[in-house]
């Protein structure tokens, strides 16, 4: 039994939705969408749910995550109702529903909470460095590089990385479990066998690594930009969390060494992806970039700053500038830590898990549809 929630309007508006009453249900958006499929129709159906105030079906729907916001629906919409942006706002709303801590909703709807959180953790990181900092070694290595490992011992940093990764992952995994409960347990009437879960699992891995759905949008260049950004970040993440002693070395390897090649690839991928997104959001030429929520900008700015400080560390270290290297390192961590803490489990970056899991859950749902026929 679905109840109408008269407060849904008020709640949704906080997540960037302007007005959904413009829609007159012609179905142009759904039929234009290259990603919609029988059984998982969007965006019109979602707009209908919003108009009717049906919070239940919205909270169990997986469709918003299947939309990659190419903006074709908004371009064709005869009412200029911006269905693409409504889907984007729904993803923010759903992120806040999945999050059991309630912080996600706070971050999305309050700038004070979001900025306060970032500043608090940035100061905490700086304070920690000042408190536990060993005496600074400003002498250089034989190759003329900075002795970075004496400033930030890799094994110590790696322990910290593991702790961070564990914290963020456990938050994210618990939220994904809540998403699973909503979408599969509440959202489908039939139970799905374990065999089915295993059989469809490769969709999760495949969609996480390639984002094949994104490439179905008319303009494929953004799939490439996004993939460069994602693969760049993933490589950097693995290097830092798993292989830090190998990656953070005082020895300056030749440029063709895998350590540097991987690092450079990741940096370029991140810069290209970030550049495309930032330029797009500034130019506002495409509909998908026309509306930017605070959280969209904050994510881009923080990730850019992380990349820039990372590049600076490398330049200063190789060129033997110890003070500059150490300050960049602290700045790098002061941006990176709050970014990971806020973005991955609570905000925009959580889509790295929700999107591929949504595809997986959609596959599971689809298997029940076949059975019921």
């Amino acid at each position: 039994m679905n109840r109408i929630d008269p407060n849904l309007t008020r709640d949704l508006r906080k997540f960037g939705i302007r007005d959904w009453n413009d829609c007159y249900h012609c179905g142009t958006c759904t039929a234009t969408c290259p990603l919609t499929a029988q059984g998982f129709l969007f965006p019109r159906k979602e707009i209908r749910l919003m108009q009717m105030g049906l919070k239940g079906p919205i909270s169990t729907s997986v469709e918003p995550w299947l939309c990659y916001y190419c903006g074709e629906c908004s371009e064709r919409c005869p009412r200029k109702a911006n269905p693409g942006e409504l889907m984007m706002s729904l993803r923010r709303y759903l992120t806040s529903l999945y999050d059991w801590t309630g912080l996600s909703g706070k971050f999305y709807t309050s700038k004070i909470w979001e900025l306060g959180f970032i500043i608090f953790f940035a100061l905490l990181v700086i304070l920690a460095f000042i408190l536990i900092l060993p005496p600074l070694d400003t002498t250089l290595t034989d190759q003329g590089g900075v002795k970075i490992n004496s400033f930030a011992p890799p094994d110590l940093v790696e322990y910290f990385d593991w702790a961070m990764a564990f914290l963020v992952a456990s938050l994210l995994v618990s939220n994904i479990f809540r998403m699973y409960l909503r979408v599969i347990w509440t959202g489908t009437k039939q139970r799905i066998s374990l065999v089915e879960h295993v059989r469809e699992f490769w969709h999760l891995v495949f969609n996480f690594s390639v984002q094949p759905k994104f490439s179905k949008c008319e303009d494929r260049s953004y799939w490439l930009y996004h993939w460069l950004l994602m693969s760049g970040y993933t490589i950097m993440f693995i290097l830092i969390v798993v292989f830090l002693p190998w990656f953070q070395t005082e020895n300056i390897f030749p440029a063709w060494h895998p350590q540097r090649v991987l690092g450079y690839y990741a940096t370029i991928g991140l810069l290209v992806g970030l550049g495309a997104a930032i330029i797009g959001r500034i130019r506002k030429k495409e509909i998908k970039f026309e509306f930017s929520h605070v959280s969209d900008w904050l994510f881009l700015i923080m990730l850019s700053l992380t990349v820039i400080t990372g590049i600076l560390i490398h330049i200063f270290r190789v060129n033997g500038m110890p003070w500059a290297t150490y300050i960049s390192y602290i700045a790098h961590m002061a941006i990176l830590v709050p970014m990971i803490l806020i973005e991955v489990p609570f905000s925009k970056w959580s889509h790295l898990a929700y999107r591929p899991f949504a595809v997986y859950f959609a596959r599971l749902k689809k298997s029940t549809m076949h059975q019921s026929r």
Partner: protein
């Protein structure tokens, strides 16, 4: 002052769509200093804060009368009814002043809007204050446009012993209606209704029919206009042509037939259609070989009447003296190629409504049979009976209408003619499947809903949901849409798609508005004097509008407006005088007149 009540004015800005509209700040500063006005507000939006600020003021300082002025003030009236009642007044003490009603919505209209509100403050009707300066007039009347509205107006006037000049741009009168097969909702034969009227126009002693002519310039004052009309060279003598068609048979040049909406070819010397009025040939400059190369003259050689065809005839200009002008220039169909998703122009069997009308029409190139479009020997895409017939057809509603990217308005007629199409397809191709893709079915007129209900039961697939795109699928067309009612994605293979193209203002609307001293409305149509109470009058005296040039309209409404505009002209003629119209008055003179009227009360 007699009206010394305290009045409040709310300037309702909520219905402004941004841009350079009426200057509300100037109005605010002007009326703030009025002695009768005790309070004035600008309403920016309808959130709780803005409304309660005004209602609180109304409680504290009750007003005798509340004037709400704006484009569509009726929308916000409800917010203030309670406050008026609570402060001891009644709902009838709220007076609405709509700018849009008088076609006033530009920044330069601010002074006139001020006069409009001024009249309301003084309790005087703006129409009365603006009706002044009666001018002497001549009785001859000009009707521009020979479609059904113009024909109706001309006949009404001529039957009332008024001499009428009927100026028509094309080679025949009849307009768009002449090309239709059937009319909705009665499924009467359109030609059977129209052609007797066309013949009557041609034979009426009080009508001077000027086809293939265009209005070049208009000057003078209401009641005494001088109109310069361009008589385009027809190159065939109207009085001696016997309409035998020998010239056309011999003519070697061809062009797409305008009358047939480009569905077939005609010769360079042609009559638009067999029942054309006047039933005389004319030469199309663009395609005539002689006019391009100086060689040919096949028609002259073939013509049995000496000196009937004069290939070297030149355009000439004539001047007409008229007292009143009725504008009935109609509409142009929406250009479907502007919506690339439907592939019009790319797929030969995606056709527009007017093209399909010609396919259905027994006098069309396929003799009323529905066939595919194919290439003829000279590689022209035409319809003829040599091709097969479609088995599955789809009709897409609202093409170019109700769409913020093209035209925001509803074109009014498309739903009904689409239903008519569905019925006629079922009649002509009983085995064929017909799918209607619609957003909302707008069956608004007398007998229209009944027509819809009847057609629904004729085994037609009614699908709620406009399609989004058409792709090729082998020999066929693949439609992709959403079936809103069953919540399903539809991919449908069909043989032919009919786009229910909407109505747009004619190409000459802006130019003609300029000549007549009128302003084009928001959507590009002619602006009437008052959309509710004076739909055929304009802001200029002696100038009236009728038919689809005022806004999308079906045949019955166009005919009604044609008669109504004629009645307005006859009213002037019986009075012997014509009002000047507020467009030619200064706002000050309207205010002065309002003052006088207020004194009389």
């Amino acid at each position: 002052m007699i009206n010394s009540h305290t009045k409040g004015i709310i300037l309702d800005k909520t219905s402004e769509n941004g841009g350079a509209g009426v200057n509300y700040d100037a109005l605010f500063h002007n009326f703030r200093n009025y002695s009768q006005v005790s309070n004035i507000w600008i309403l920016e939006n309808t959130d709780n804060g803005s409304i309660s600020r005004i209602t609180a003021d109304l409680f504290d300082h009750p007003v005798e009368q509340l004037i709400i002025a704006g484009n569509t003030p009726g929308f916000v009236k409800g917010y203030f009814e309670g406050a008026m009642k609570a402060s001891g007044r009644s709902v009838s003490d709220i007076r609405l002043v709509s700018f849009q009603e008088f076609g006033l919505f530009r920044q330069e209209d601010t002074a006139m809007v001020q006069a409009l509100i001024d009249c309301a403050v003084k309790g005087v009707s703006f129409e009365m204050a603006a009706s002044q300066g009666d001018l002497e007039m001549t009785t001859d009347t000009l009707v521009i446009g020979g479609g059904i509205a113009g024909i109706q107006a001309a006949l009404e006037l001529a039957d009332g012993q008024v001499h009428v000049y009927l100026v028509e741009k094309s080679g025949t009168i009849g307009g768009k209606m002449a090309g239709f097969d059937k009319t909705f909702p009665t499924l009467d034969c359109a030609a059977c209704i129209l052609t007797p009227k066309m013949v009557e126009v041609n034979q009426h002693p009080n009508i001077t029919l000027m086809t293939y002519c265009e209005v070049l310039d208009i000057w003078g004052v209401p009641g005494n206009y001088t109109v310069s009309v361009l008589k385009k060279a027809r190159r065939v003598n109207l009085s001696t042509c016997i309409g035998c068609g020998t010239c056309s048979e011999k003519c070697p040049a061809t062009a797409f037939s305008e009358f047939d909406a480009g569905t077939c070819l005609r010769k360079s010397i042609y009559i638009p259609f067999p029942q054309a009025v006047p039933n005389k040939y004319l030469i199309d400059e663009e395609s005539c070989i002689y006019l391009k190369t100086g060689k040919c003259r096949a028609c002259v050689k073939a013509c049995p009447v000496p000196n009937c065809i004069n290939l070297d005839e030149l355009d000439e200009t004539v001047k007409l003296k008229v007292g009143n002008i009725i504008v009935a220039t109609g509409f142009k169909p929406f250009d479907a190629a502007r919506m690339p998703q439907f592939g019009y122009g790319k797929f030969p069997n995606v056709v527009t409504a007017l093209e399909f009308e010609r396919l259905l029409n027994a006098a069309g190139s396929t003799g009323g049979n529905i066939h595919f479009r194919s290439k003829d020997k000279k590689d022209n895409w035409v319809f003829n009976t040599s091709t097969a017939k479609p088995d599955r057809l789809a009709i897409i509603h609202c093409v170019g209408s109700r769409d913020e990217n093209y035209n925001k308005y509803c074109s009014r007629v498309c739903c009904m003619y689409s239903l008519k199409f569905a019925h006629l397809i079922r009649e002509k191709l009983p085995q064929a499947e017909v799918h209607e893709f619609y957003i909302d079915m707008r069956a608004f007129g007398k007998g229209y809903e009944e027509f819809y209900q009847r057609i629904r039961n004729e085994e037609i697939h009614m699908i709620r949901g406009k399609t989004a795109k058409i792709d090729a699928s082998g020999e066929h067309l693949l439609l992709r849409g959403e079936h809103i009612e069953t919540n399903q994605l539809i991919e449908l293979e069909v043989d032919m798609v009919i786009l229910a193209t909407g109505l747009e203002p004619g190409e000459d609307t802006e130019q003609l508005c300029h000549l007549l001293g009128l302003k084009v409305g928001r959507d590009g149509w002619f602006t009437e004097m008052n959309s509710n109470t004076d739909p055929t009058g304009t802001a200029t005296g002696g100038i009236y509008i009728a038919g689809a040039c005022q806004g999308p309209k079906d045949i019955p409404d166009s005919v009604a407006q044609g008669s109504a505009a004629a009645a307005r002209v006859i009213q002037n003629i019986l009075r012997g005088k014509v009002a000047i119209g507020f467009q030619n008055l200064t706002p000050e003179s309207i205010v002065n007149q309002a003052n006088e009227l207020a004194m009389i009360r």
